[in-house]
C-alpha cells in the first residue's frame, strides 16, 4: 500500500522543467528554522477565513443525500414522486437520472463501483440526492423518498470474508487482487540461524479520519464553466476527476480550496458529493452546497482499515536479526483499495531474510482511504511490540536491540543508500533526552498504579518529488507574493513558503502574501498528502525566489556599474563587495520600478538517482496504568524526528504532538464498531467514536528534531513530517503498558476493559502457577487488582493473598 499512493493525479511519470540555475542549499539561515506564527493566523483566528463549508452564494440551494440503511442490499425501486412535490425541492437525482451513469472508486486503473450503484455494498452507499431551498427541506425530502430494497447477506469481518460461503461482495470473490508478497533471502534458513524466535498475532481496529470540517462542496456554473469550492487536500486532482466524469476540458473546471478543515488522507479522493453538487447545480441553474452530516462522514468518507498481523522474528543471541516473517490481513471495505501493512516489517530493520504477505479483502463496510501513513502505524503496533518481546527473550534493552539492526540502505535489489539514514540518530538522541536507560530500569511500582516506559521506531516510505511549479512575484515596493497550488491542510504550508521567500529575498514576512490552492489562478501542484508537500514544493519555492534574486542582481549590476559577481545580496540590500559606497536597497532598483514586478518561476528538480530518501522517527513515552480500574494515563511523550531541515520549528512541534494524539487514538481510544446483527456502524458520532480529547493525550510533550538538512535530496534539505509523527505512537504506548503490567496486550485499542481482562487472565495464569509454586509475590498486586474489578469478592482492608499491605479503600467504598 505504502508503495502505491496516488499522490500524483493519474500515475503518469512526474516531470517539471529544469530550473535555469541550481538553487544550492543555505549555509546559514535567519528565518528558516525559527519559530514563526502562521501567516494566515489572523484569518483563521478572527473568523474571517472562508472555509468551503462557510461559502454562501446568492440563490444557493442545499443538497442532501439519501443513503442505503443496509449493509448489503439491492435497490429494487425508488419513488421520488412525493419528495418532488415537497416545499422547496428543486431537483432530485438517482441512478436513473441522465448523466449519472459514471464509474467510481478507481483503483489501479479499474473501477469497482458507480456514482449510484444498484447494489449497495455498505451502510451509507448513495441512493438519491435532493437539492432544495434550505438544508432542512432537502433532508425532509430525502425522508419522503420511498426505496424498496432486497436485503442481501453481508460480511463485515475481514477474517470471515475469506471463509468459504461468505457473501461475495464483488464478482470473483472477496480477495482484492492478488496478495502482495515482499521477500528476500531464504526465510527458512534465516530462522534456522536464529537462537531466539518470537511469534505472535496482533490486531488493530478500524480508525476513522474524523476531520473536524465535514466533507462537502459548493458548485456553481457560469455558462459552460464550473467552479467548485471543495474541502480537499488537492484542488488539481479534484479538477482532473471532475473533468473526467463530466467530460469537460480541464480549463473549464475551477476548483478552489483556500482553507479546509482537516483531511488526514480522507480528502485526497474526489467525493461523490462534489459530482452530485455539480450535476444538481447544472440541472437547477443555481449554485448548490452539499455537505455531509457527521454520521455520513463516519460511515462513508474513508477509514484506516482494521488489520490482523502475525509477526515472527528470529535473532541470534547477540541481537542481530536473522529473519522476519509477516502476514497481514485487512479490509478495504466495499470497494477496491489497499489494506496492506507490509512495508515497515520489510524495510525498518537490517535483516537478510524476509517474507511478508499482505492480503486485502472486501467487506460490507465503508471504503478505506489513505489515512496518515496508510498501513504503517498498524504495522508498527505489531512489529515494534514483537521487537520488545524479542528483546525480553534476549534479555536485552529494547533500545539496544534496535540499535543493533539499523539499516543504511533500502533493502531491495542493488541496495540503494538512504540520502540521510538518521534512524540511529532518532533513537540515540531521543533516548538520551528521554532518560531512557534510567526510566527503563525502574520497577513498575508496588501499588495499584503501575508505571512503564516504551519506545518504538518508524520510517515513512515516501518523500515527494516533481512535479511542482511555483511563481514568486516581487512588486516595486519590495513586497512579495508566492503563487503555488498546494493546499494548506493545517501543516503550515503557506507559512514555510513565505519563510523561504523571506530567507532568500530579505522581504519581511508581513509583506509576503501567498496565493494557493486554486486551479484557475495558481501553479500546478500534486495533492497535499504523503508528507510530501514540504519536500516536493519547498525546493520550487526556493528556486522561484532564487530566480527573482538573480534578476535583481543583474539589474543592480547595471545600475551600480559593477560586475554581477562582485555583488552581494544581504538582507534587503545589494552592494558591491569591493566598493562599499556602491549599494542599493532592493526597492530602489530602477528596473524593478520600471517593470512593476519581477517574476521568478521555480520548478521542483528531480530526485537524485540511485538513492532513496525517507523520514525516520523514534518516540518514547511513559504511562501509568491503574490496575484497579484499567485506566491508562499517558504521562509524557517525546518524539525524535528526522525530517531533514526544520523549516518552522513552531509548526513542526505542533505537527509532532498532533501525530502523537492520532496515534493515541489508534492505540487507546478509537474503534469503529459495526453491529454483527445488521452490519451497521453503531458509533457513527463523536460521542461514541472517541477521538482523543485534551484529557486523553499526554500530559507533557517534547519534540526533538534531528534537524540535519538532507542536501543530497533537495535544495531546501527538508523531508516530510506529518505521517512519521503518528507511526510509532501506538506501539510505544503498547510497549509502555506491557512494561508497566508485565503482560502484553496484542489487540488495540487499550481500553480499560481490555486492560482489566489482560490483568485478570494473567493473574489467573499466575494463580494456576501459584498452586504449584507459592512464590508469586511480584504478581500479587495484579491479583488484588483483579479482585478489585469484582469488589464483592473481597472485604475492605483484608490482607491480599500475596502479603501485600491492605489497599486503600476505593472511592466507591469510602
Amino acid at each position: 500500500m505504502t508503495d502505491r499512493h496516488d499522490y500524483h493525479v493519474d500515475g503518469t511519470p512526474p516531470e517539471t522543467p529544469a530550473n535555469d540555475t541550481a538553487a544550492g542549499p543555505w549555509s546559514t539561515t535567519t528565518v528558516v528554522g525559527t519559530r514563526q506564527p502562521r501567516v494566515d493566523a489572523y484569518e483563521r483566528l478572527s473568523g474571517a477565513a472562508i472555509y468551503p463549508h462557510d461559502v454562501s452564494l446568492p440563490g444557493m440551494l442545499h443538497g442532501a443525500i439519501l443513503r442505503c440503511p443496509h449493509a448489503h442490499a439491492r435497490v429494487l425501486s425508488i419513488d421520488t414522486t412525493e419528495a418532488e412535490r415537497m416545499p422547496g425541492v428543486r431537483a432530485i437525482i438517482t441512478g436513473k437520472s441522465p448523466g449519472t451513469d459514471i464509474p467510481w472508486y478507481e483503483n489501479g486503473g479499474a473501477f469497482s463501483g458507480k456514482l449510484f450503484d444498484e447494489i449497495c455494498r455498505h451502510e451509507g452507499d448513495e441512493v438519491a440526492v435532493v437539492a432544495a431551498e434550505t438544508p432542512h427541506q432537502a433532508v425532509d425530502a430525502t425522508r419522503a423518498i420511498k426505496v424498496r430494497y432486497e436485503e442481501l447477506p453481508f460480511v463485515i469481518d475481514h477474517t470471515a470474508a475469506l471463509e468459504s460461503g461468505a457473501p461475495a461482495i464483488h464478482e470473483g470473490g472477496n480477495v482484492v487482487g492478488e496478495p502482495r508478497v515482499r521477500a528476500r533471502g531464504d526465510i527458512a534458513a534465516g530462522f534456522a540461524e536464529a537462537d531466539v524466535i518470537v511469534e505472535r498475532t496482533y490486531r488493530t481496529e478500524c480508525q476513522i479520519h474524523a476531520t473536524m470540517e465535514p466533507h462537502g462542496s459548493v458548485a456553481r456554473w457560469d455558462g459552460n464553466r464550473l467552479t467548485v469550492w471543495d474541502s480537499t487536500q488537492g484542488v488539481f486532482s479534484v479538477q482532473a476527476n471532475l473533468a473526467r466524469v463530466l467530460a469537460m476540458p480541464l480549463s473549464n473546471v475551477r476548483v478552489i480550496g483556500h482553507y479546509m478543515g482537516g483531511g488526514f488522507g480522507s480528502k485526497l479522493e474526489t467525493g461523490k458529493y462534489t459530482v452530485y453538487a455539480a450535476i444538481l447545480a447544472r440541472m437547477t441553474a443555481r449554485p448548490v452546497k452539499l455537505f455531509l452530516p457527521r454520521e455520513d462522514c463516519m460511515t462513508s468518507t474513508g477509514n484506516r482499515p482494521a488489520n490482523t498481523m502475525t509477526v515472527k522474528i528470529g535473532a541470534r543471541s547477540d541481537g542481530s536479526l536473522t529473519a522476519i516473517e509477516y502476514r497481514s490481513l485487512g479490509s478495504c471495505g466495499a470497494y477496491a483499495d489497499g489494506a496492506g501493512t507490509g512495508a515497515l516489517p520489510t524495510y525498518l530493520y537490517q535483516v537478510a531474510n524476509v517474507h511478508v504477505v499482505d492480503t486485502t479483502v472486501y467487506t460490507n463496510a465503508g471504503k478505506a482511504r489513505a489515512m496518515r501513513a496508510p498501513g504503517v502505524p498498524q504495522a508498527a503496533w505489531a512489529l515494534e511490540q514483537a521487537m520488545d518481546e524479542l528483546a525480553a527473550e534476549l534479555e536485552m534493552d529494547p533500545l539496544e536491540l534496535r540499535l543493533k539492526n539499523i539499516p543504511t540502505t533500502l533493502q531491495v535489489e542493488h541496495n540503494p543508500p538512504f540520502t540521510s539514514p538518521e534512524l540511529r540518530a532518532c533513537l540515540e538522541t531521543g533516548s538520551e533526552a528521554f532518560g531512557w536507560t534510567e526510566s527503563f530500569a525502574r520497577e513498575p511500582g508496588d501499588g495499584h498504579l503501575k508505571r512503564g516506559v516504551g519506545l518504538a521506531a518508524g520510517m515513512w516510505f515516501y518523500a515527494g518529488g516533481p512535479p511542482s511549479t511555483v511563481v514568486v512575484k516581487l512588486f516595486a515596493d519590495g513586497s512579495a507574493n508566492v503563487n503555488m497550488g498546494a493546499s494548506d491542510i493545517g501543516c503550515g504550508t503557506k507559512t514555510w513558503a513565505a519563510m523561504i521567500v523571506a530567507e532568500e529575498l530579505g522581504v519581511p514576512l508581513d509583506r509576503i502574501t501567498v496565493e494557493h490552492a486554486d486551479t484557475a489562478t495558481t501553479q500546478y501542484a500534486t495533492p497535499s498528502g504523503g508528507s510530501k508537500t514540504v519536500p516536493s514544493d519547498s525546493p520550487a519555492v526556493l528556486a522561484a525566489a532564487r530566480s527573482v534574486k538573480l534578476q535583481l542582481l543583474s539589474f543592480a549590476a547595471d545600475q551600480l556599474e559593477v560586475p554581477v559577481d562582485d555583488l552581494s545580496y544581504v538582507d534587503f540590500e545589494i552592494g558591491s563587495r569591493s566598493d562599499s559606497s556602491k549599494r542599493i536597497p532592493v526597492p530602489k532598483i530602477e528596473r524593478l520600478g520600471r517593470r512593476g514586478v519581477v517574476l521568478g518561476t521555480g520548478y521542483r528538480d528531480p530526485n537524485p538517482e540511485d538513492t532513496v530518501t525517507f523520514p525516520f522517527c523514534a518516540q518514547f513515552c511513559e504511562v501509568e496504568v491503574n490496575t484497579r480500574t484499567g485506566e491508562l494515563r499517558i504521562l509524557r511523550f517525546l518524539g525524535a524526528h528526522d525530517s531533514g531541515r526544520v523549516l518552522n520549528r513552531l509548526t513542526f512541534d505542533n505537527q509532532v504532538f498532533g501525530g502523537m494524539a492520532m496515534g493515541i487514538g489508534l492505540g487507546v481510544t478509537e474503534e469503529r464498531v459495526l453491529d454483527r446483527q445488521t452490519g451497521k456502524m453503531v458509533n457513527a458520532n463523536f460521542h461514541d467514536y472517541k477521538i482523543p480529547t485534551m484529557l486523553d493525550v499526554s500530559a507533557s510533550h517534547d519534540c526533538l528534531p534531528i534537524d540535519h538538512p538532507d542536501n543530497a535530496f533537495n535544495s531546501t534539505g527538508a523531508k516530510g513530517l506529518g505521517e512519521p509523527a503518528t507511526i510509532p505512537t501506538a506501539a510505544a504506548v503498547g510497549n509502555a503498558v506491557a512494561r508497566a503490567l508485565g503482560v502484553r496486550i496484542t489487540d488495540a485499542p487499550l481500553t480499560p476493559r481490555r486492560i482489566l481482562e489482560a490483568i485478570s487472565a494473567s493473574s489467573s495464569r499466575d494463580n494456576a502457577r501459584g498452586s504449584r509454586d507459592a512464590a508469586a509475590s511480584r504478581k500479587s498486586d495484579l491479583r488484588s487488582a483483579e479482585a478489585d474489578f469484582d469488589v464483592r469478592r473481597e472485604s475492605r482492608g483484608e490482607e491480599a493473598p500475596g502479603g501485600v499491605p491492605s489497599r486503600r479503600p476505593s472511592r466507591k467504598e469510602a
Partner: protein, 209 residues
Amino acid sequence: MAKKKPVHQTSESGVTRRGFLGSVGAGAAAVAAGVSSRAEAVPEITDPADMVGIALTINGQIHRLLVEPRWTLLFVLRERLGITGTKAGCERGECGSCTVLIDNRPRYACLTLAVEAEGTEITTVEGLLEGEELGDVQRAFAEHDAFQCGYCTPGQIMAAEGLLRSNPSPSPAEIRSGMSGNLCRCAAYQHIVNAVADVADRRKRGGGS
C-alpha cells in the same frame, strides 16, 4: 403521529405530511428541552413552517429576523446572518466547533434553538476582535500556534474565553478539563493549554483584558 390535528391543509398529500412534519418538529424540541415524552404529549405544537419573529443580540448588535422554530442558533448565525466564524462540525452537540458565549457561558450553538437565544447576549469569535485587531485570546493562539487547520479553533477560542471569564486563574488541569468539550483532530491541545495559560497570566499582570 397522525393524531395531531393538522395545522394547515395542503392540496396534494395534505394531512399526513403536515402532521408528520409537525410532530417531527415537536419531537426535536422535546429532545432539546431534555423531555423524553412522546411528541403527542406536547399540547401546543408550532408548525415548523410557521416563521417566528425574533431579535438576537450578537456581538452587541441586534438582528431582527424570521426563523423557523426548528432552526438552531448555529444555522441562523451561519446561513441566515453570514456570521461564519462559528463552525459546524457535528451539529449534535459533541465536537464543540460551534461554541459561542451565551451570557458569558460557553454553549454549543448547534444545540441551542435560535428562538431560545432571544433575550441573551451572544458572543461569537468575531466578537472578540478589538476593532480589527485580534483579541488577547486570539493573539495568544497565534503566538503559541494553538491550531492547525483552524476549523475547531473559533470554538476552542470561545471555550477558552468562557473558561477565563468564570475562572480567571485556571490551573493546567482546570484548563484541560474546562476545554475537554472541544475536539481538535489536528490535536493542537498542548499549544492550546499553553495559550490559555498565557492569557490568564497576562490578564492577571495587566489587570484584566
